[in-house]
């Protein structure tokens, strides 16, 4: 890594996880920091780096296979507009996985948020369209609040009642899906604030505004995870819940905030659904539940908790979106896309395994002191039974 030797400050690329450069920070300080962190960053960014490769690879393959359709501005715009809603849910999934849990209810929450917004809007618009339009922001907030409410429900089940996250959120997913079907009668609802649809169509030059929103959310979450005490506690809780407890970290606080934030992000994803397409239904994005888990893991999230990278999630989201639209450009079906998803996931996992093998062989070059033997893992459990 060049950061080790070059004094150039561009040598440390400002990824969302480690950005704003404070101009006041002394150069010396930066150099020292860069050197000390270099090792860790190589380790931490390895998975992100691998996603950069996958991203470039996917893009090149389709750009070469069918440049006329794939590289068209329309297709690029489509990728930029479709990625955010999946990406935001994947970021929420990453947070849950960072604590060592999972949140299966995120897509259901997003749908419920979208249904809430459409119902409120069309309910008000039926009597007074102008009023409904002027209430756009409160109506959208209502959708996000529904998301937060669902997140709170999850967090109570996981952190207070202590249900395993996969079961708790499986339950809430079913409940929320059921509520969505019952309230909509299973049909698709139409109608979203015109302002929101206009926002969804707007672009800053070639970049759709929705995509900008996605990047802003990603940057905020990255800052939250790496630069706030709570974010660090979320990482530590996932890395070793027992040590976190013995370090004075309250798992209840950590889990409660994680699932609540996840709910809020899913609520925002519901808004993004509507910005792209002013319809809401209970079964929208049914395939997203597993897709966002794939994205989270591809993006470098450790399913056992403790490690994740928002930059990796953004790249993984884009890569899968590129493959999806590339398949469309090549006139392949969504079933073939499903196969590709599975192949990519397994290929990346195999790649990980091979790289880990090579690393461990290389790291034997410097064996250092042998790892401490398992210690007294049993002694605490025997303190009460043993009284000779």
């Amino acid at each position: 890594m060049s950061a080790k030797t070059t004094p150039d400050r561009r040598a440390t690329p400002p990824s969302p996880a480690q950005s704003p450069q404070r101009p006041a920070a002394r150069f010396n300080d930066r150099l020292e920091q860069a050197t000390r962190g270099a090792m860790a960053r190589v380790a931490g960014n390895r998975k992100t780096g691998r996603m950069v490769v996958a991203f470039v690879l996917a893009f090149s393959i389709f750009a070469i296979a069918n440049p006329r359709v794939f590289l068209s501005p329309l297709n690029m715009q489509n990728i930029g507009v479709a990625a955010p809603e999946i990406g935001v849910i994947a970021i929420a999934m990453m947070l849950a996985m960072l604590t060592g849990g999972i949140d299966l209810s995120l897509v259901a929450i997003a749908n419920l948020s979208a249904i809430t917004i459409v119902s409120l809007y069309s309910g008000i618009a039926a009597s007074d369209p102008a009023l409904a339009e002027s209430l756009t922001i409160p109506i959208l907030l209502a959708g996000v609040v529904v998301g937060i409410g669902c997140g709170v429900l999850n967090s109570v089940l996981v952190s207070v009642v202590g249900i395993t996250p996969i079961l708790a959120t499986l339950g809430t997913m079913q409940i929320l899906n059921g509520i969505a079907v019952v309230t909509t009668g299973g049909s698709t609802l139409y109608g979203a604030p015109a302002g929101l649809s206009a926002f969804g169509r707007t672009a800053l030059g070639p970049v759709p505004l929705l995509f900008v929103v996605f990047i802003v959310i990603a940057a905020l979450v990255a800052l939250f995870v790496s630069r706030t005490p709570l974010g660090r506690k979320i990482q530590l809780e996932g890395a070793n819940p027992v040590a976190a407890r013995y370090s004075g970290i309250s798992s209840r606080t950590v889990l409660t905030s994680t699932y609540t934030i996840g709910g809020a992000l899913a609520g925002v994803a519901g808004v993004l659904f509507l910005a792209r397409n002013p319809t809401a239904s209970a079964d929208y994005g049914a395939s997203y539940v597993l897709l966002v888990i794939v994205i989270a893991v591809l993006g470098g999230t450790n399913p056992n908790g403790g490690f994740a990278s928002v930059a990796g999630i953004v790249l993984a989201t884009l890569t899968l979106q590129i493959v999806s639209s590339g398949f469309t450009a090549l006139r392949l079906s969504s079933y073939e896309y499903a196969i590709a998803q599975g192949v990519i996931l397994i290929a990346v996992m195999v790649l990980d395994y091979l790289m880990a093998n090579r690393r461990s062989r290389r790291s034997r070059v410097e064996p250092g002191p042998p790892p401490t033997p398992p210690g007294l893992a049993d002694s605490s459990s025997t303190t009460l039974t043993d009284s000779h």
Binding site: R232, P369, T372, T382, L384, S387
Partner: protein
């Protein structure tokens, strides 16, 4: 103690001129060792001296670059783990590698059945086989209890029995006495005598020099991949072994700072009570004082510490810090009150193994490093990490290295750093030097003295008497959940502590 075996006996196992390199680093340089039937051979050395690598080579897990392993006069240059087992070499690791969900009898017999390529498992044949071994060693083991419910000592005995099923000629035990009480150690040593009578050669890898000296016939000491010295155990004492291990003279004399007798106590524990764990525990610790708490495993010493830290709060009684009553119902309560706790099991309770040293150091003090926007003040965090990293002399290339890569002594320093970063008023340490090599141990005790000198009140829970003698102003002895003795001044000697603990 039995007389040492004579040199005329043919060794069961001998290694000659073993060299092993990992890349550019030489882990073993021309190491030779021979094990005689019926001897206990102590293999001592600091972490990283190469003894683990040597054991791996003897047990066929690693292959030497040069040199040979000779078992019963047959040289094996390409031994693997399976051929080592069939040749009668057994290693009992610290975690014993037992199946907690199976019974003692099944654990003893099952691996041999599997290794013997038995196609079918006959439950009926298990018990007699296991019974024969347990009887031969005259053990009091319940063959039908599940291993998960056993004490550490009984798990160890189960592992020894399992080794004998494989007709073990050489049994290597990694830190066999670390997790045992004094009575259990005595029991283990009785079993070891019976194993010797069978002609088994035993290798003890240990940090606990006193105990090992009591049972070993010969001692081999390694440092930096070489055998520094080897000879009869009777020619060594604690001090000379430590000197050979560290390569320098070790100061283990009592070194305690004078206390300001008039200072108000920093911590007062008053009539603390938790049914089933401890009763009516009262004591106080002054600023700058190091208080030792000792007792057998299960005496309630750990429970008292965990009650003060809020991990298992007391049912009644009061805790005062600097004269103010602290209502400790949870760990965050204790941390807010200024209490830090270095837990007993550092690998699972103390450390985030996959995280960096830096992340571990600030894990307990994240809220103290907030800036005015409630984010982390990164400059201050860097200063804290860099300061503690160098003050505590943590031996790693940089603070970003993962904690997993550290040796026991360095890992413990990281746990210590985590709590020093919170600037606690009271620091409780449970077994601060368990599994730590001799050199690091002295340094860790020194760090405690320095922390105390800054006005901290320190409680050291330990069953390592020399360690308590070395650093404690007073020592409380706990038995059956009560404080039975308080030792101070000249009363604090290893002999008196042992005597009071056993009483």
């Amino acid at each position: 103690m039995a007389s040492p075996p004579t040199a005329a006996v043919e060794p069961v196992l001998a290694v000659h001129g073993i060299t092993k390199r990992f890349g550019g680093v030489t882990a073993l340089a021309g190491v030779s060792l021979d094990l005689l039937p019926g001897e206990v051979h102590c293999l001592a050395g600091e972490n990283g001296c190469g003894k683990s690598t040597l054991i791996k080579i003897i047990s066929g897990v690693e292959r030497p670059d040069s040199g040979e392993v000779i078992i019963d006069g047959v040289a094996h240059s390409r031994m693997n783990a399976t051929s080592a087992i069939t040749s009668g070499v057994q290693v009992i690791y610290q975690d014993f590698s037992l199946f907690p969900n199976l019974t003692v009898a099944e654990n003893i017999v099952l691996t041999a059945e599997v290794a013997g390529r038995q196609k079918l498992y006959r439950a009926a044949s298990v018990r007699p086989k296991a019974r024969a071994i347990v009887d031969e060693l005259q053990l009091d083991l319940d063959l039908d209890s599940e291993v998960g419910d056993l004490s550490v000592a009984d798990k160890q005995l189960t592992a020894i029995c399992r080794a004998l099923v494989h007709a073990a000629r050489v049994i290597i035990m990694d830190e066999p006495t670390t997790a045992l009480t004094h009575t259990e150690v005595a029991r283990l040593f009785a079993v070891v005598e019976r194993l010797r009578a069978r002609g088994v050669a035993l290798v003890f890898v240990s940090h606990k020099l006193e105990e090992v000296l009591a049972i070993s016939q010969r001692v081999t000491i390694m440092r930096s991949g070489r055998v520094v010295t080897s000879g009869l155990a009777s020619d060594f004492d604690r001090r000379s072994i430590a000197e050979h291990m560290t390569g320098s003279e070790l100061d283990e004399s009592r070194l305690v700072a004078d206390l300001d007798e008039s200072a108000a106590p920093r911590l007062v524990v008053s009539h603390l009570d938790l049914p089933g764990a401890f009763h009516d525990v009262s004591f106080s610790v002054r600023p700058g004082e190091i208080l030792g708490v000792t007792g057998l495993l299960g005496s309630g010493r750990t429970e008292i510490a965990e009650a003060i830290f809020g991990a298992r709060p007391a049912a009644s009684g009061e805790i005062f810090i600097d004269g103010r009553r602290a209502d400790i119902r949870s760990i965050p309560d204790a941390v807010d009150a200024g209490i830090g706790y270095v837990p007993e099991d550092r690998l699972s309770q103390g450390l985030f193994l996959e995280k960096s040293i830096a992340d571990n150091i600030v894990a307990g003090s994240l809220d103290r490093h907030r800036n005015r926007w409630h984010g982390l003040d990164r400059a201050r965090i860097r200063a804290t990490i860099a300061g503690l990293f160098s003050d505590l002399k943590i031996n790693a290339p940089n603070p970003e290295a993962p904690v997993r890569s550290l040796s026991g002594g360095n890992a413990q320093r990281v746990v210590l750093a985590k709590w020093l970063a919170t600037e606690p008023k009271v620091l409780v340490l449970n077994g601060p030097t368990v599994g730590v090599d001799v050199g690091s141990k002295a340094q860790i005790l020194d760090l405690l003295r320095k922390a105390a000198a800054r006005g901290m009140a320190i409680i050291v829970i330990s069953d390592d008497a020399p360690e308590l003698v070395s650093c404690c102003h007073r020592v409380l002895v706990v038995a059956r959940g009560r404080v039975t003795h308080e030792l101070s001044g000249d009363e604090i000697t290893a002999e008196i502590i042992h005597e009071r603990m056993a009483a």
